[in-house]
Symmetry: C2
Subunit: 528 residues, 2 copies
């Protein structure tokens, strides 16, 4: 049926002639484009845009969508101006004063696919790609992003859809190619404070000759990411050519992945997943595997910690997650090995960039004060990664890894990488310490029977980590340790009074430790 | 198992002594609290708050939660200041310069219930009340609100949960009591442009003596709400005592419900439902019935329009929605009568406040130019409402309503209400007209076989309605009308060039009309 011819020519009204002048509003709106329009704007009526509360801003052949904020202060934005938040301003890539056209925001083209998902339907490959493209191009508002994340949570995505999503996210940014058949990587799904095994695994496997170009994230909700910890020792924000040269020379690196624009959709999605503490299996798989695929990995060792305050809390859940990872990895042509590890408490002693760097360096230096759990876990993971190599027999990896560590070859490799990336002064025997601190003590006698990963991480975060490198928590007791009422459980370090007070308040609510009855010597301790 | 005593007294650090000075930032962030903190704030590190991107702001014994925006401009917010968006500023109720404490935002207490819902679990009454309370107190960010709305969409709420939600929303604000056993109201679920039956139904039933204190909303995504249209004739924002006096005297009123703070949670939820076009059955029922309950209604007539571009598009869907409304109404002790009406095209001719007021007044004046569909639908609805009265026989309502209209008693009642609310000059025979206009013509010969409610509403909205009272669309043809290629389908009115251009572009994409082959006379027209 033909649509009626819409326009008669008769009473033509003049098109809106005037533009607005662009103004940079120095507000960081955290990955959301915001436009500031005066309520009495000379050209557009702010009220008219309120239905969607989003507008399209055009200049320089570019179009961006922005959430509309209405301004009642001429000093902020004048009547003939339009303001853009710093991020949005940068995307238009024109200078202040540039002529700007404003249009009603059309919904992003993929919104129909989003609505189909919200209605419980299954998305096909093209739809998933269209959604991810619109997300990367910042055409989704926070509200639409949240709807997508919630709509894909739980078991709303089947494994085929998770594969489509992963593929679309990997395709959304740059993709590295190392021109070698074996490019190994390891990744932990997170949630365990102090778990800095990459700092050990990378030099071990690189020392053996495996190519291990490790790109890591900075902390999002945790007190330190591998990139934050490595930054204590060396530069981590390297240009791609420099990075490639280092990897060619030393077979490994430990850098921040952000500069390479790997799976940029992930960074946008995180901005809503984070405040919601949403980490559904589908999103976790897509987030991790898309980054690895984009980084050019061919073989991945995945660490899934299991414990009462870890991300995964039961073995059936861990196995379900493992199978989803394996399915999607196989579809992507990625070789995947999954290890399910003990996530019942933090790994090592230090939590926070400097304290974690100290622990990692002590392991590399074979210092007797090094935390044995960090050492053992790293050797186990490095051993499994070594077995990706066709010449390494199954089961032989651990001994090779231990030899590499104990011979000092891992330390030498780490020193070479640190030097190549741009070393920073750091002495693991005398790490810098924050100005303020307090101890948290056991309060009663007994045995440590539980440590809450989430709460300990929160305390370290409140104390200032990772933004303040020297801030964090240093554990004195771990599971199974006997304590008296005045035994210090851990020390909290902070540089700023406000941070120390925030951490102190959190400790006052709960220490994060549970002290149980002392078990008679020789009897096994049952974990709660 | 006892939690360990958290704090040793030993190395006490000084508490953060200094406060920040409050500043009002004249930015309207549309129902979201936003706090502006300088990146180099003297007291708090903005970075430290980024995990949740939300902070708690305290002053004057009050605490509000606000999304954090980081500012890099001393002129906007200085290093010893904290800025609050206009809405957030008003909530604290202190003046600029007041000393402000900032704390890490704790998640709202009800967030666990929200997470349970997102995990697919069923919420109990207390949980739903806790969520709604936190929403009203603006403790939910846009992201959390969206998660709640999406998590409750589709069939995620069972009917018991919808009842809990409705009850909680009604309890979240003021509740009116008219001290009469029969307080009637009508409501349409919306989606049909021009459907201003309340303007006729209220004076008819009030003229018969039924108590009908009609509180209406303003348009949210439509080109006019009843409150917007009534505002053409009279004041609609009345203080509660004045409103009660008018209702006592005239048995009816037509006012904006916003001043009375009825079900304020609804207004907050709408701020995310609107941009998502989410209108799930559960939310619709809770939104409508909570407002009616809070407004003190005892009997409600509900209009569910059915049509290919209406909110409800199939009879089974309409029946399912009817049953949900009936179940929840019964639990609430509200007498409910549901009518499923023809929603295949706009009602009346005018779309936009002035044009709709013109149509309604012409019906009341028994003007031969009055749109017959608006008249007939209003009489049918008024008749059903009159039958709420125990003395009116089933089926007798329509004739009574018609008598009241034709005798001029409805017009007299409307004039009395308009006078009492504060009349504004308006002449339905010569309504004011917008400065700019253009016609949309049929383009081909045939018969009008479909009119897209959504698209026509969008055009009227783009033209400036309801903010510009005289803007909108005036229909010249309705379903079944025969047209030649140059027959005007409708005229678009706007006051501002930019608005006219936005509307023109929308018309250029599609007129919203479908013209089909002319059917031989006498043959029934099948609706598409």
């Amino acid at each position: 049926m033909p649509s009626a011819n819409p326009l008669s020519d008769v009473p033509a009204a003049s098109a809106p002639g005037s533009c607005l002048a662009l103004r940079r509003v120095a507000i960081d709106t955290w990955r959301e484009n915001v436009a500031y329009l005066h309520r009495d704007c000379a050209v557009y009526r702010a009220e008219g845009f309120q239905a969607l509360s989003k507008i399209e801003v055009r200049a320089n052949g570019r179009r961006i969508l922005a959430t509309l904020n209405v301004v009642d202060d001429d000093a902020l934005v004048a009547r003939d101006e339009i303001g853009l938040s710093t991020d949005a301003f940068a995307q238009l890539d024109v200078s202040e004063g540039h002529a700007i056209l404003v249009a009603q925001a059309e919904r992003p083209a993929s919104i129909k696919a989003l609505f189909r998902k919200l209605a419980g339907e299954r998305l096909i490959q093209d739809e998933m790609h269209a959604i991810v493209r619109d997300i990367v191009e910042k055409r989704y508002s926070k509200i639409e992003l949240t709807a997508f994340v919630v709509g894909c949570a739980r078991d709303e995505l089947d494994r085929e859809e998770v594969y489509f999503l992963t593929q679309a996210m990997a395709a959304s940014g740059q993709r590295l190619d190392w021109h070698e058949p074996l490019v190994v990587d390891k990744h932990c799904i997170g949630g365990i404070p102090g778990n800095r095994t990459s700092m050990l695994v990378v030099p071990i496997v690189a020392a053996h000759g495996l190519l291990c170009p490790k790109t890591s994230s900075r902390a999002i909700t945790s007190p330190a990411g591998t990139a934050d910890t490595m930054e204590v020792l060396a530069e981590v924000e390297l240009a791609l050519p420099r990075l490639q040269e280092i990897v060619r020379t030393h077979r490994g690196c430990l850098v921040w992945g952000g500069t390479a624009q790997l799976s940029p959709a992930d960074d946008v999605l995180i901005s809503v997943e984070r405040p919601l503490s949403m980490d559904s299996p589908g999103q976790m798989v897509a987030s991790i595997l898309s980054k690895k695929l984009a980084a050019g990995s061919t073989h991945l060792l995945l660490d899934i910690p299991l414990g009462p305050s870890a991300k995964v809390r039961s073995m059936p859940e861990a196995q379900r997650l493992r199978r989803l990872f394996e399915y999607v990895a196989r579809r992507l042509g990625l070789v995947l090995d999954v290890v399910i590890t003990d996530g019942s408490q933090p790994i090592g002693r230090g939590i926070g960039p400097v304290l974690e760097a100290r622990d990692a360096m002590r392991v590399l230096q074979c210092d007797p004060a090094a935390p044995t759990d960090l050492r053992e876990k790293s050797l186990r993971l490095a051993g499994r990664m070594l077995e990706f190599h066709p010449d390494v027999r199954g089961g032989a990896g651990y001994a090779i890894a231990r030899d590499i560590l104990e011979s000092g070859r891992a330390l030498a490799c780490m020193q070479a990488i640190v030097g190549a990336q741009g070393a920073r002064a750091f002495d693991a025997a005398h790490p810098p310490v924050a100005a303020l601190s307090f101890d948290v003590v056991a309060g009663s006698a007994g045995v440590v029977v539980a440590i809450d990963n989430l709460h300990i991480a929160r305390i370290a975060r409140l104390a200032g980590a990772p933004a303040v490198q020297v801030a964090g928590v240093d554990l004195r007791c771990k599971l199974g340790d006997r304590v008296a009422p005045d035994t210090p459980l851990y020390r909290v370090y902070a540089n700023f009074p406000a941070d120390l007070e925030f951490a102190r308040q959190a400790c006052a609510k709960s220490s994060g430790y549970q002290i149980g009855a002392a078990v008679p010597p020789g009897e096994a301790l049952e974990q709660s």
